[in-house]
Amino acid sequence: MSASTFVRASLAVAAKDLAIEWKTKTAFVSSMVFAVLVLAVLYFARDPTSVATIDVAPGALWVTFTFAAMVGLNRAFLLERENRAMDGLLLTPAPPTAIFVGKVLGNLVFVGVVELASVPLFILFYDLPIGAQLPELLLVMVMATVAFVAVGTLLSAMVVRTRFSEMMLPVLLLPFLVPPVVGAVQLTARILLDRPLSELAGWLKLLAAFDLVFLTLSILLFEATLEE
């Protein structure tokens, strides 16, 4: 098994997932509708006379991203459960780890697109003049998204084979989202207020450490979830 076959298998799995999503668009549409609803509901769930939008905006953004991503993550391994396609994948010479990396890549693109599509709405709804801070915000989005897609993909691989699978994912996933989401909210708040970069360093390091540790861990643990 050479590195290039590994990469080729991962890319094939990711491309296949995205092709299916492109055809059906069900997860994308539900995630987007969900995102719009959450953004709107959270906007109205505050007292406009006493709470400034800038104070709720970071939280609103990340609650939106988290729940919109959950809709997509839940679907990731449902595709493989349907018709037991996972068996078909395991019968090929592609290493299970490559299959998992492919699923993570597919999910990253999916969640990334949902997030990118929600950001303009976020700016519009919350009336935030943040053109200059966008690159920093994008960096935070990438780092936090890697964190919850890595953990979420691993958990969804297990959850689809349990009873009450739709309920299990949030219950298991949310505690794991505490560090990345709290970190992302803190960072977003500082970025929106245009604070100096030195105030971001600590949380960025935490996000980076979380990404590194949990990406590695989920890749290592994936094979254990195939136990049959």
């Binding site: 076959t5 080729r8 298998a9 094939a12 799995v13 296949k16 092709a19 299916i20 055809k23 059906t24 595709l79 349907e82 018709n83 037991r84 396609a85 068996d87 078909g88 994948l89 395991l90 019968l91 090929t92 010479p93 592609a94 136990e227 049959e228």
Partner: protein, 227 residues
């Protein structure tokens, strides 16, 4: 049988699902160029046995050795409903490291689905899905082929097509294991038949000049012995 001709060896394999024993002390040797038919009722352990041979499940005890690449056609198609027939095959071809274009077209021709290659398989009938699943399993030209009820959903043309393909594979030296109760159609293909009763398998016996009625009688006798 010389050792080099062995495709699969099972030694005292047992497997539970949940707390239920599904297979108990199954030992079996399958040679290349052989077609072993497995007879048994639903729940006798046929599917589990095939999954163990394929390496999709692990035995609780005992050992399994495979001496070749495995292809499998199971009860589920292992395909993606939203994709077309050729997209499905192209995807699996890529995972096998095969050049997708020509291989996929040839595979679809072989199972008579070339005309519908660009249709989403969600629209396929059970028989069409079964043909496509067989095409998927045969893509990498496996040396060991496992089939669970391969004729289910197939009409007469489909049955002939599939049995002819299996005959050709056997003659090329592929080791084939078929779990089925449609014994009449498959008997002419088989070299041996094994009776799987309540998770136990007696050593499969050679099929020479046996009529379906004789095989059924032997099966019933095996069931009676397990009681």
């Amino acid at each position: 049988m010389p050792l080099s001709d062995v495709a699969v060896t099972l030694r005292e394999v047992s497997r539970r699902y949940g707390h239920r024993p599904v297979l108990q002390d199954v030992s079996l040797d399958i040679g290349f160029g052989e077609v072993v038919l497995l007879m048994g009722k639903n729940g006798a352990g046929k599917t589990t046995l095939l999954r163990l041979i394929a390496g999709l499940a692990r035995p609780n005890s005992g050992s399994i050795e495979r001496f070749g690449s495995v292809g499998m056609v199971a009860h589920h198609s292992m395909l993606y409903d939203a994709l077309t027939a050729s997209q499905n095959l192209a995807f699996f071809a890529r995972l096998h490291g095969l050049p997708s274009g020509r291989v996929v077209h040839a595979a679809l021709e072989r199972v008579g689905l070339a005309a519908v290659h660009d249709q989403a398989i969600a629209t396929f009938s059970r028989g069409m899905l079964q043909r496509l699943a067989i095409a998927r399993a045969l893509l990498p030209e496996p040396e060991i082929l496992l089939l669970d009820e391969p004729l289910s959903g197939l009409d007469d043309t489909g049955t002939t097509l599939v049995t002819d393909m299996l005959k050709a594979l056997r003659d090329r030296g592929c080791a084939v294991v078929i779990a089925s109760h449609q014994i009449t159609e498959l008997l002419p293909l088989g070299t041996r038949v094994g009776y799987l009763v309540r998770g136990r398998l007696e050593t499969p016996e050679v099929l020479t000049n046996k009529t379906p009625a004789e095989v059924l009688d032997r099966y019933r006798a095996a069931v009676a012995r397990e009681r």
